[in-house]
Symmetry: C5
Subunit: 334 residues, 5 copies
């Protein structure tokens, strides 16, 4: 492990490095892994991106990974979870990124194998590279000296920190929706937006919620793979997740209320429209009745022969309409 050769540029391998006492010794090839694993206090960090079956099989052989976990890492489309296989952990994370053009979240998936002296991450889909996270923890060798479980924390922290902007964008969409509904009333578009926001929040929540169980397990003493000094770091991730979950719960509840409120506003609007309809019908009934009255063909209708009968009747009719209009206006029907 002394003369470490530069990493071969192999498709699917993003990084393959050896660490000792929290410091990066250098990049290694897959073939050098067994030598790197022998040394006490050192560990190997292998990052893969959508590896093909052959590469995954080779990695499985090198680290002795369980068939079922490798199968999950290959097929992806898993829900977030942590599974213990003997002395190694298998963690599945869903990564989220906001797509500005579509105004929606896009999801990726990361699978992490953590052993006594290795961490293997397998990245799928629309996730960002973990390079910033890796560089960040290389700057804290005293913490990275705790081994692969601290590296796992680094990845989870990175994933969870990326949830916050997504959450914030969804909060903006809910705010817009509220403004729309209270300003303009509920219409087709706002109703459909309620539905779509609901569906996206449910999807987002399914990325976040299972991670709470994962963190709780990593903190608990039952999982002996995490040194005591690293546990508070996972508790910090848990704390972030709880804050996200609280916000999601609030949004769910407010969204349900928005839907009910939009129904109530539609009822209020319907009342207004029907009252306006009734009010105008009442006003128009006046000329209809009076004009009908003097359209009758009786022989003896004295008013018809009055010199000012016509302007008088028309004037009285409009006066009655005006009076009725003011009265209905005052009582809130118009």
């Amino acid at each position: 492990m002394k003369n470490m050769a530069p990493t071969e540029e192999r498709v699917g391998i993003v990084v393959c490095a050896a660490y000792a006492e929290g410091r990066r010794i250098g990049d290694i090839t897959l073939d050098e892994i067994p030598y790197a694993l022998q040394r006490e206090d050192s560990f190997v960090w292998l990052g893969l991106y959508e590896p093909d079956e052959a590469l995954l099989a080779e990695v499985q052989a090198r680290f002795g990974l369980h068939d079922l976990a490798v199968e999950d890492a290959h097929k992806a489309h898993q829900r977030p979870k942590m599974e213990i296989y003997g002395d190694s952990l298998f963690v599945v994370l869903r990564t989220a990124r906001w797509d500005e053009s579509a105004e929606t979240a896009v999801y990726g998936e990361t699978h992490v194998f953590v052993g006594r002296n290795y961490l293997v991450s397998v990245r799928h889909g629309a996730s960002q590279t973990y390079r910033p996270a890796r560089l960040g923890c290389e700057r804290q060798p005293q913490l990275l000296a705790h081994g692969p479980s601290f590296a796992l924390y680094t990845l989870m922290d990175f994933v969870v920190d990326n949830y916050f902007p997504v959450l914030s964008d969804y909060e903006d969409r809910l705010d817009d929706l509220e403004t729309d509904i209270f300003a303009g009333g509920a219409d087709r578009d706002s109703t459909q937006e309620i539905y779509e926001l609901k569906r996206e929040l449910v999807t987002f929540r399914r990325a976040v919620l299972p991670l709470i169980d994962v963190c709780t397990d990593l903190i608990s003493l039952r999982v002996t793979h995490v040194p005591d000094a690293v546990r508070p770091y996972f508790r910090d991730v848990l704390d972030h997740l709880k804050r996200i979950n609280d916000t999601l719960d609030t949004m769910r509840e407010m969204l349900a209320t928005v839907l009910q409120v939009s129904l109530a506003l539609a009822s209020v609007r319907q009342n207004e429209v029907t009252k306006a309809l009734a009010g105008w019908a009442a006003i128009l009934a006046v000329p209809t009745v009076i004009f009908g009255l003097y359209g009758m063909n009786f022989e003896r209708m004295p008013e018809l022969h009055w010199p000012f009968g016509y302007p008088l009747v028309v004037g009285a009719t409009f006066a009655a309409c005006g009076w009725l209009y003011r009265r209905l206006r005052r009582s809130g029907w118009l």
Copy 2:
């Protein structure tokens, strides 16, 4: 057990085979079962399809099954469950298959008795044969060597894998429903489809949900019938079930929202219709009033004698209607 005769072709028996060290030794008859059971490291796999009472009684005697479990296996119509009878397990599964013509799921039922050295499956109703599952695990003798509990895993995995296409078909129906409602609005048919989909999802959920408890129990150390090396396989089934359950939960929640959204859309539509009604009533009030006015029989109505009174009044009336129409149109009432 050396010279194993070919299985008798008995109605109700699908397969009766002996396995040793994970490999199939050969088919046996019911009478040979006691000999097969004697040998260490071997087990008997007996598959039945809707057996009559006599056959079931014979099987009960051969394996020493409990009265209550056999009664369940005979009557069927059980809910999924796992029960421990001393050193044997009794598992009830509901199988699901999509009926393309009826666009609905069809259910069957399977009862499995698992002892130290036997597995007896009893299949009822519309379920597929377990032959592919059996052949599949015969190709992995190193795993089948773990004994009947691995065979049980094979069956459960097969049953649960068959839930996915059903789930996916239900998701299609929900998608169609959404498209219908947002395109054309809520009508009688979509409302009834919401109700029927709800009912079918509840039924499907009752097949899936209890299996989560069954798998959780099989993984827990409390159940000593499963070797440690086989537990991860049941955990994998559990993982699939949780994914199905998550999707079902999401669909339930979205279906409830669809119902509320369709109410909201109906309110929006009602508002539109009432406004249209009111708007047209307002427009039609103009000629009604004016034509009524000049239908009056007053002696002195100067306009009646104007040469162009008639076209003027009619023209003014239609102009007023046109102006009103444009105004109502602009303010969104028409």
Copy 3:
């Protein structure tokens, strides 16, 4: 206990018999109970129906029952429960029977005291006699040899089996309701039926749900009054209760959905009616306006003097109405 006299015919006592090694030795009087209780491996089965206070006090003294339990058995109107008083159990069951004429369930109540060597049942109200259950378990002496706890199972099994027809009748009522609502729409009667069915299901559920806890307790090792060999029988009762409870949960959920669906259907119907109203108003506006037009009294209205003015105008009016009718029909307003 050899020369057992025939039971005195006392009001309130249905049966009082001694059993040894699972076989009925014979009927005894209340006074003979102490002798019967002395013998090892034997137990006394006493069945009461609405006993008066004096009889209950005598029975209490004979078996040493606790004041609080006897008070419950006397007053009835308890919720189903199991209570442990030292080495005896006190179980309260609600029995249900379908009243065909009223199309509703009728409830009774049974209180059971179970000691090391006795079972006392106290029956109230509309419940069936337990004679068939008692005869049934007398036919299985090898099971009845397990003692009074197996007799208790027999009673509970009998009670729970009688829930199934009630459940099925409620399912029929729900089916009828669905048919009504989707065929004819929601009206007063169907709305009231939803309410009443809801209320009755809640009542039925209160009979069933607490029994699940009772059975769970009887199965648990915490309750030492039940021999291990009898526990699977109570688990079987529990299984039936869970199936009933599942069905009740489904019915509750569907009933809640029916209520929402009936609201949605009323909205759909309201839309249809308002659209029809608006459509016909539009059609009728045509002759109203045109006939009003030619009712005006202008001197110079050339059409009035055309020879075929009248039939032309009337014909044109009806043609316009016809055209409007077809257009509204096609666009779904009529």
Copy 4:
């Protein structure tokens, strides 16, 4: 303690008596309490009603009560709870009484301190005197010999028994509400009554529900202040509370359903009214159109010159209206 003087008549003290072996020895003054407390097998029962701060401080000093508990007892407005302070218990109860004139429940509060050899009750607000309860348990010296915890049971039993008439009166109000809604339909008053009943049930439930936890704790072996022989008595109180809670749950659920049902009935009613409106509009359209037709001023309208034109047209019009009325009636629009 031999020559026990008659109790001083001090404001705030309802009773102060010493008990030995379950029998009342006599009334004592506050100053005599230390002597009474010395004697083995005896205890002091002190009943206070809205004591002033000075009296409460004196009592605190006599019995060595904890500051926090005394503060609660002084300020009142606590929620029901039980707290353990070393070897003494502090219990808070809410008492309920039905106010016939206001048709609503009125609440009071009682605070009970229970030590090894004393019980101090502090009563606030609209609660009844505990005299009947005290006299009742003085009639059962063999039970009262269990000490202050049995006296505590007596008080709690008295409080809980007084919940039943309140519950029953609320059930009557719900019944009245149902009758109103199904007979006359939902109006402003019934809607407001739903709201008020809901609010009162929530308040009542907050008095009852925490007591369930209190009783459960008093029964559990964790609380060593209650002798085994007294535990079944608290279990009996728990049983009453569970029955009350069940009924309250049912009422809550039915009240929620009533609210939804009243919405559904309003929709049904709205449909009926709109259909009636549309139906009458249709009928009235007939004479409007026909009379308008013959009001036109065409020169050549042959019908106008028929000798029986007028009665014929009027007759035909009314015949058409009649026919339309019957048709609409039959199809349910009128």
Copy 5:
């Protein structure tokens, strides 16, 4: 520690004092802290307000605080929680204050570090000073002698006591809302107020609810940082929190009911309006039909030639209208 110098006036430091045996010895500087910490039975109380990073780093160094906790205290925007770091506690509280002008609650945040012999509080945002709380507990030296955990209780008690006026102001807003809705019916403003109150209650609840877990943990024996004599004080805070939470639950439930009730009232109102519309349409149909009748131009209409035909017909028409009006009035349509 004898000659304690007056505290330097440093920005961000509100108080820095040493306490021994529950009594304040005097103010100290940050540099004197190590000496103060050496003495047995003494502790340091340091109060900060929005400290800059440099000050916080210095404090961290003095007390050996964990990086993650200090990071939280610096960034604020945490949810209420308690975390254990070895032998020190880290508690996050949300403080609430009612803003009279905006009629809404304003929130601040406090972070508390509690060690064996120190308490450091970091205050952010709109919270009140803790000076009254500190002075209050300095008046009870026998309690403060329990050390920093009693000081922590003092702060939490102060924070929670300040929730009550906020809660009471929200209750006033709900009362106003109820009065509005039952007096004037549901309109746009009341619907929006329901929504806003809902949102603010959810926010308030998120300050309160997690504190219940914090208190429960502080009471439990699992947390060894709190002496037994101090636990009842945290239980008292818990009791206050439970009362607040109960009230919030009630308000949530009533607010949800208000929303439904406002929908029901809108339906009732809609029915009234539609019935009024239909009723007036019916009344106006009478003159419309009759006046239309006598507007027809038939040659032979005998009534037209009656001398009193005109007043007779007009009179009969108005009489019919009057009769109809009274009938509709009586049947509740007008």
